[in-house]
Symmetry: C2
Subunit: 291 residues, 2 copies
DNA sequence: CAGTGGTCTAGACCACATC
DNA sequence: ATGTGGTCTAGACCACTGG
């Protein structure tokens, strides 16, 4: 781990606290219902006003955050105030916030407040970057922009992942990631042009932080989670050139679909990884603290 | 997903409820302390009697479970009783149980009780088996035992992962996993012989369930979590033969260390996966329910 | 029906951050 | 000193399971 300061470097920025318009979930509005009636999809969807009170509180908060009523980095009203506004007890409110924290939507800081989560190098490294040195050490990659262009979508996998039709306008970004001075990853990102209006090669190249920070600060798109599918392939000429491996060398190909609120896909990315000196790591069930 | 009945097939087995010897964490025993003093390792270890009360309750429960005072599948005393025994409020007790459920140590069933978690096909598939068809469908693999022998450990990676010295006695198991009638995975498992005393090829071949069920029911070893490191390699002669791919074909190699209580390693496994028709999947941050 | 976990409440006090 | 989140309590009521 690089020794990165955890506190904002700009320090002493006063806490911006959002004022929110929230519906009252008063006990009157109680929608009982032990899950919907027979024939209802028992799988995923939930009626908006149903379920336990803390879930409804969670959805209410999620909605105002999703709508951008409080920008990433700003503080929510205090838990006591939120509870009062929503008309629920503090315990119930806290349970709703607990889940939003688990979902990486909110971050709590004791003594300071509860904040809408932001992307930073730290989060990128831990949540979204899974390549590490064979000896187990982790380090932030150096990113090099290789290509940027706007085009019509012609990739069936990308189309399916992004829920677009072939032919729709997309932006394609190619990056090379370097670790310890060696090229290790070749990324090819496909972004729906409609979501990233105004993104230019210049803005991309000059961004100060990670690309997910750029999505968030410039396009109000917060990547919350992602799904990856990996396989081994033989390096083609292009990958071989970018990564400096022989054509035909075994490399890992990782296809990622990044999702925002409501599991809406916002980025499809194909990474080709030279795993000669690095591994793709995967932790099955992270432990909670303090055993 | 295969349509597997969730309820025990043996049904109607009366709930065995464990009687536990638990220490009282009474308010008198309050070990305050905002984390240990200066110079303490701020990283991982925790003093046994320190931290919040719910953590101490958690550790107390963990200890009796770990010691085997209540076998997997048995029910704990009711939450009310546990709270009384430990001398904490029901809310605090529930918080401790919440974490143990998140850690897959306990399972709650409303109306029935809280049970020590067991391994079954379902859990294996979701928590520990990450190979699925390219179209996204999942299916349980068919397992074929290829080899079993006892030997001296001669693999530096395995030694490090299992925290053994080379030369110590280990059991080596080789399996071939088949999906849709095609061989897809070649597993080579290394087990510390000291932990699996009495394991024979026959018992392994005739086990009724998954191998982690066998560890649990026959050797009182519960695999709680695992860490995997993947890379792309060229298939060697042995992998090529077992998987039916050409020598030199790109395949994925996944090295897994499986851990039990206290993060003690109990199995080291190297899987070679033919990713021609299947993917290795990885979900980055699973969402909690009900958004 | 009795017993279990699941939800919800109202309040107290502590630890921490900031001014 | 004030306000924030973190912990803990004691109880009420609901939903579900099993005899």
């Amino acid at each position: 781990m690089a020794s990165v300061a955890m506190r904002p470097l700009v320090a002493a920025a006063p806490v911006r606290r959002a004022a929110l318009r929230l519906p009252a979930l008063g006990v009157g509005a109680r929608a009982v219902g032990p899950a919907a009636g027979p024939g209802a999809a028992a799988d995923a969807e939930v009626a908006p006003g149903s379920g336990p009170l803390y879930r409804r509180a969670k959805r209410a908060l999620l909605q105002v955050i999703e709508q951008g009523a409080c920008a990433p980095g700003t503080a929510l009203p205090s838990e006591a105030e939120l509870a009062r506004t929503l008309g629920v007890s503090i315990g119930t409110l806290r349970r709703a916030v607990d889940e939003l924290v688990a979902d990486h939507v909110l971050v709590r800081h004791q003594g300071r407040g509860t904040f809408v989560a932001t992307h930073d190098a730290e989060r990128f490294l831990f949540q979204f970057f899974h390549v590490e040195r064979a000896d187990g050490r982790r380090e932030s990659p150096q990113v090099e922009l290789l290509a940027f262009h706007r085009q019509r979508l012609d990739d069936a996998d990308a189309a399916e992942a992004l829920r677009l039709r072939e032919g729709e306008a997309v932006l394609v970004v190619e990056n090379r990631l370097t670790l310890q001075g060696r090229p290790v990853v070749h990324d090819r990102l496909v972004l729906p042009a409609a979501l990233f209006r105004g993104l230019t090669e210049k803005r991309l190249a000059e961004r100060p932080g990670t690309i997910y920070q750029l999505y968030q600060s410039e396009f109000a798109i917060t990547v919350l989670r992602a799904a990856e599918r990996a396989r081994a392939i033989a390096a083609d000429r292009s990958a071989a050139r970018v990564l400096g491996v022989p054509v035909g060398a075994p490399v890992m190909q990782v296809r990622r679909t990044a999702l925002t609120f409501g599991d809406k896909p916002v980025e499809y990315r194909v990474s080709v990884v030279n795993t000669a000196r690095h591994d793709y790591v995967h932790v099955l069930s992270r432990p909670s603290r303090g055993n």
